[in-house]
Every structure is written in structure tokens, then in C-alpha cells.
């Protein structure tokens, strides 16, 4: 397959391929079936017609029941995909995710497992306000047993989704609402991107930006601009946020000696704090500057566009953070 594909189409293709291969792959979520329009963001468009309403099930607005049913089906050996429309609504199903999906393999001594994918959407920048925009990956990264994934381009979306569905443990798959429409090279059918493996989105030698999801695009743009100033930035796209590819991150920062950790989520207590702490544990004597962290402001995501733009890490802030590491005098 050649040509271009959008992120939505790439996700749809990955799910379609998995459903064609394995009858155990089923979808549950609000409005996901054809009768309700194939999902609010159309990721499941066309799947009901192909695989039937017993495999593409629209649900009541009952997040605990949706995730719980997917946990149960997964325990029975199916590979359910739950669509939780927005990431903030995962908080309604926290008990099923944290106390059950994540822990049942361990608490059963390995007798059972939960091959479940929870797809969810979020993102700052479209004016959805405080309850429809949060990136909550750090909440889940803190829970042993969960794998958290987010793509920054359509090819990775397709490949990571196939791997997430094939994974024998629960995966939270975060889709950024601002990325749904972006186009990129269409990967071949059956394309897979391994979980737990970061990508070097751009090679560089002076400073590493470690990021994931939508902010990879910002980092790449900033890296291009800084190149004009003679600063060579390496951009690491984690792709799997947790457990993350520590080896690739350490190798990159060992090479550049400088690191900026960037995410859209609130900076305080974010995944960036964990990564920065590991870098200082592992590379204390080798770092040429303190690790810089960039993230969202410490407030709810505001609605007013001017405030929302002030909330999001700006490209100028990313540039300044890189320059801070470059200009640091020990």
C-alpha cells in the first residue's frame, strides 16, 4: 500500500485488519456501531457492516460497564477494544482499569490475563475545556501492569494499534484529537510497531528532546528552527509512554549530554519527572546541564482560546529550554 493516509483511517485500517484475522477482536463503546454513525470520531466506520453488531457493540453511557465487560471478555480469551470517548471519562472507570485490568494477571499468579485495548481521545487546543482535554497518562503510568501508547503519525498509529491488539496485557491507547486529521505515508498492510520501542524522529548531537504524541510535531518544528541557529537537536518519540524505552533515551542523552523532556500533560508530577529523575540517576556525571522539563500549566485546561494557548507548552518555551541546556555553565 502506498500513498497517504490520515490518522483516523490508519487506526480504522489496523482494527479492520485485526478483526478480519481474529473473531475474538470485538469493539465496545458509546456510538461505535453503524446505527450510531460508527463512532463520534469515525474510527470504527464501516466495521459493523463487515463484522456485525455482535462484534461492534454500541453501549449505554456506562464507562464502568464498558471497561468491565471488556475485562471479562478478555479473561475469557477474547481481544476486546473499548472506546472511551474522551480520556477524562477514564476516571469514571478507574476501578476497572486500576484494580482489575492492571492487576488480575498478578493477583491470579499468572493464571489469567487481560488482553484489552482501551482507546481514548484527548487533546488541548480545540476549546473543549477542563473536562474533555486532559492528558492523564501519568495516572496510569504509575500503575504496574498497564502499557500506555500514543502515536504521533498515521503509520505509527496503524502499527502500534496492531501491536496493542496483539498484546496479552492491557494497553491504554491515547489518540490526540488534533492529530486525527494529519496525513502521512501509508504503511503496508499488516504493519506493526513494537510496543516499548521509541523512535528517533530526528537525529541530532547537541540536545535530546524526549516527547510523545502531538508534541513530537512541535519538537520536530523547533528542531528545524534551531538547526538554523547551529543547534543540533535529537527528537525521541517514545511512542510507548510506559513502560518506556529507557535504553534509547539513555543512549541519546549520553550522546548529546543534554535533555529536554516535553509533554502536553501538566508538568508537575508528570511522566517527565520520572524520565528526568532516571536521567539524573543514570547519567549524573555525564550531563552538561540539568534536565529541563516542559509541560502544561498547573491549572485545569481553560476554554478561552487565548488562555488555552497560554496553557500549552509553546514552541518558544521548547526553544528556550533547549537553549538553556546549551548555554548552561557548570
Amino acid at each position: 500500500m502506498t500513498g497517504k493516509i490520515t490518522m483516523v483511517a490508519a487506526l480504522n485500517r489496523a482494527i479492520d485488519e485485526a478483526m478480519a484475522e481474529d473473531e475474538g477482536v470485538i469493539l465496545l463503546g458509546e456510538d461505535v456501531a453503524a446505527k450510531q454513525g460508527g463512532g463520534v470520531f469515525k474510527v470504527s466506520a464501516g466495521l459493523t457492516e463487515k463484522y456485525g453488531e455482535h462484534r461492534v457493540r454500541s453501549t449505554p453511557i456506562s464507562e464502568q460497564a464498558i471497561v468491565g465487560a471488556c475485562v471479562g471478555a478478555a479473561l475469557a480469551g477474547m481481544r476486546p477494544i473499548a472506546e472511551i470517548m474522551l480520556m477524562n471519562f477514564l476516571t469514571v472507570a478507574m476501578d476497572q482499569i486500576v484494580n482489575h485490568a492492571a492487576k488480575l494477571r498478578f493477583m491470579s499468579g499468572g493464571q489469567t490475563n487481560v488482553p484489552l485495548v482501551i482507546r481514548t481521545t484527548t487533546g488541548v487546543g480545540v476549546g473543549f475545556g477542563g473536562q474533555h482535554s486532559d492528558m492523564l497518562e501519568a495516572w496510569f503510568a504509575h500503575v504496574p501492569g498497564l502499557t500506555i501508547v500514543t502515536p504521533s503519525n498515521p503509520a505509527d498509529a496503524q502499527g502500534l494499534m496492531r501491536s496493542a491488539i496483539a498484546c496479552n496485557d492491557p494497553v491504554i491507547f491515547i489518540e490526540n484529537i488534533l492529530c486525527y486529521g494529519i496525513t502521512g505515508d501509508a504503511p503496508p498492510a499488516g504493519h506493526r510497531v513494537p510496543l516499548g520501542k521509541a523512535a528517533i524522529a530526528r537525529e541530532g548531537s547537541d540536545c535530546s528532546i524526549i516527547t510523545y504524541g502531538r508534541t513530537v510535531l512541535d519538537a520536530l518544528e523547533v528542531a528545524g528552527q534551531l538547526a538554523d541557529e547551529g543547534i543540533s537537536v535529537e527528537v525521541i518519540d517514545l511512542r510507548t509512554i510506559a513502560p518506556y524505552d529507557e535504553k534509547t533515551v539513555i543512549t541519546s542523552v549520553r550522546k548529546t549530554g543534554r535533555a529536554v523532556v516535553l509533554h502536553e500533560a501538566v508538568k508537575a508530577y508528570g511522566t517527565g519527572a520520572e524520565i528526568a529523575a532516571r536521567l539524573s540517576e543514570k547519567l549524573f556525571g555525564e550531563l552538561k546541564a540539568p534536565v529541563q522539563r516542559i509541560g502544561g500549566a498547573f491549572s485545569a485546561v481553560p476554554m478561552a482560546n487565548v488562555l488555552e494557548q497560554a496553557w500549552i507548552p509553546s514552541k518558544d518555551a521548547i526553544k528556550d529550554a533547549v537553549r538553556t541546556t546549551i548555554n548552561w555553565k557548570i
Binding site: 473473531e23 470485538i26 455482535h54 462484534r55 457493540r57 453501549t59 449505554p60 456506562s62 464502568q64 460497564a65 471497561v67 468491565g68 465487560a69 471488556c70 475485562v71 471479562g72 471478555a73 478478555a74 479473561l75 475469557a76 480469551g77 477474547m78 476486546p80 476501578d95 476497572q96 484494580n99 482489575h100 488480575l104 494477571r105 498478578f106 493477583m107 491470579s108 499468579g109 499468572g110 493464571q111 489469567t112 490475563n113 504496574p144 501492569g145 502499557t147 498484546c167 496479552n168 496485557d169 513502560p243
Partner: protein, 323 residues
């Protein structure tokens, strides 16, 4: 005689395995041989045994922390169960789950949850898998009256009826949610009235009446297996001790204790067995055999080793975490 004599004997055997086992665990706790959190089910042995006797071994069970009777009645081997309660590596879950998280897929025990009400949505998923596959399995999920006031109960009931899932919501109404009496936590007279809110069949039964309890269970199982959808069963029973073993239950009024003692399922079932022409000697022989099994399970658990620290890195994910 309203049920098959052989079936009643089956129910009696399961009930006595539950009863003798609970007594053994309590004596181990009293004697200092065990020091673990344990939720005794004294008083609920029969309701569960009659329910499980209506199931096939391959049917699924999802239960709660007060669920050792459900697991025993479903068929979990006592030696593996005791070892798990004691946190031993030979237990069902290698000692990593304990009494609140017993899992034994070989006998259909898929989840035991320590979170009130959380098993119900999961039971729907097991039933949904059976529905899609057409494997004919039925899923039973056990919970107490206290669980019917948490949101998961309502979400799960609605979804189960919407999809006509082969699932049975088995409420063992033991009249207390932790320390709070039923009338102090719920303003309707019975749980079963809530079935109507979801268009679901609901049945209320004296759970300590073996014939009535088994009949209600069998009807619900047949309905589910025939593809006619879920049932809410409210089995009336008593929790004859505190919330957990050793816990104070002086908050139970004297009249409640008197009523409870009169309704004790064990003497009631014994009397019914005699009515069905079983002899005292036959019944005693069954109990003696169970006691031997219980003693052997205690020995097995006592002699078994604790898990090693490497178990912390296992079963978090499919692949063991590197040391």
C-alpha cells in the same frame, strides 16, 4: 420432595464442605496457625451450594472477598485454596492473591474481587464472550446486599439486559452491608424490586430453603443457557458473624441474633436430608470424609513454602521484568 434426591445430596456435600472448611480456617486463625484477613461466610453455606449445584463445572464464577463458600461450592480444591489463604507458593495464585483474590480457571473461578460491586461488569464480559462464541456457558456473579447501592451494579444490570447476556446476578442478601443493616442503607424492601427497573427477571427466595433455592437457581441457569437473558436472584440469608473474622458485631440487635439462630441453614438442611430418607450414618460419613479432606488441606498449606521475592517481577506483564 421437590428436587431430585441425588441433587440434594450434592447440595448437602457442597454445603458441608463449605461449613467444615470455614470452621477449620477459623480454628487456624484462633489457634495462631494463620494470621490473615478472613471474611467468614458462616450462615451463607447453603445459598451458594444450591446455586453452584445448578451449574456445570465449565460455567464461570465471579465473586467477592466474602466468597470462599462460592469457590468451594464451585469446586476449587481445598488444598490449593488453603495454601492461597495462607499466602503460600502452592496456592491457586502462588500466594499473590490471597483470600480476597482467589482465581482458579479450571473450576471456572475467573475473578474474586475485593472491591464491592466490581465483579458485576466483569461477569457481563465473560457472558458476552460466551454469547459471541455460542459456547453455552453461564456466568454467575455473587455479591451482597451492600453492593446493590454502588453504580457498577446499575450499569451492569442495564447492559446485561440490553444484550440479553447469559449471566446471573446472585445477590446473597445477608442483611448487612459491613456494619449497616439493610433497612439503614436501602429504602426499598427488597433488592429484587430493582430488577424491574432494567426489565429483568427477578426472583426472591428463602436461600436457606434448599429446595426453593435450588429451584430458583436452576430456572435462572436454564433461562440463561436458552438465550433468554439474565436473572437477578435475591437469596435471603444471614451473615452469622462480623464483617470479617474477629470483628465486633455487637451492633446486631438481639432480635436479629435470635431470628438468625432459628434460620441457621445447617440444622435446617440436616433435617431436610432426613426428610428425604438419608440416614444419620450416611450424613456423618460424608462429613467425616470432608473432615479428612479439610485436615489434609491444612497440612498441605502448613507444609508449603512462601513465595520467593522473584515473584514480584513475575505476572506484572506477560514477560518477567528484568532483575
Amino acid at each position: 420432595m421437590t428436587i431430585d434426591r441425588e441433587k440434594l445430596l450434592d447440595i448437602y456435600t457442597r454445603t458441608m464442605r463449605c461449613a467444615r472448611s470455614d470452621e477449620k480456617i477459623r480454628s487456624m486463625l484462633m489457634g495462631g496457625k494463620l494470621a490473615v484477613l478472613y471474611y467468614t461466610y458462616r450462615g451463607q453455606e447453603l445459598v451458594s451450594s444450591a446455586m453452584m449445584a445448578a451449574l456445570e463445572p465449565s460455567d464461570y464464577l465471579v465473586t467477592t472477598y466474602r466468597g470462599q463458600h462460592d469457590q468451594i461450592a464451585k469446586g476449587v480444591p481445598l488444598d490449593l485454596l488453603y495454601a492461597e489463604i495462607a499466602g503460600k507458593v502452592t496456592g491457586t495464585c502462588k500466594g499473590k492473591g490471597g483470600s480476597m483474590h482467589i482465581t482458579h480457571p479450571e473450576t471456572g473461578v475467573m475473578v474474586t474481587t475485593g472491591v464491592v460491586g466490581s465483579g458485576l461488569p466483569i461477569a457481563n464480559g465473560l457472558a458476552l464472550a460466551s454469547q459471541n462464541r455460542g459456547d453455552g456457558r453461564v456466568t454467575v456473579t455473587c455479591f451482597g446486599d451492600g453492593a446493590t447501592n454502588i453504580g457498577a451494579f446499575h450499569e451492569a444490570m442495564n447492559m446485561a439486559q440490553l444484550y440479553k447476556l447469559p449471566v446471573i446476578f446472585f445477590c446473597q442478601n445477608n442483611r448487612y452491608g459491613e456494619h449497616t443493616a439493610f433497612a439503614d442503607h436501602t429504602k426499598v424492601d427488597s433488592i429484587v424490586t430493582r430488577a424491574a427497573a432494567y426489565g429483568m427477571t427477578g426472583v426472591r427466595v428463602d436461600g436457606n430453603d434448599a429446595e426453593a433455592m435450588y429451584t430458583a437457581a436452576k430456572e435462572a441457569v436454564d433461562r440463561a443457557r436458552a438465550g433468554e437473558g439474565p436473572t437477578l436472584i435475591e437469596a435471603m440469608c444471614y451473615r452469622m458473624m462480623g464483617h470479617f473474622f474477629g470483628a465486633d458485631f455487637s451492633y446486631m440487635p438481639k432480635e436479629h441474633l435470635t431470628e438468625m439462630a432459628a434460620e441457621d441453614p445447617l440444622p435446617r438442611l440436616r433435617k431436610l436430608m432426613l426428610d428425604y430418607q438419608f440416614t444419620e450414618a450416611e450424613l456423618d460419613a460424608i462429613v467425616a470424609q470432608i473432615d479428612a479432606e479439610v485436615d489434609a488441606a491444612e497440612q498441605f498449606a502448613t507444609d508449603s513454602a512462601f513465595p520467593g521475592p522473584e515473584e514480584l517481577r513475575r505476572d506484572v506483564f506477560e514477560a518477567e521484568i528484568a532483575a
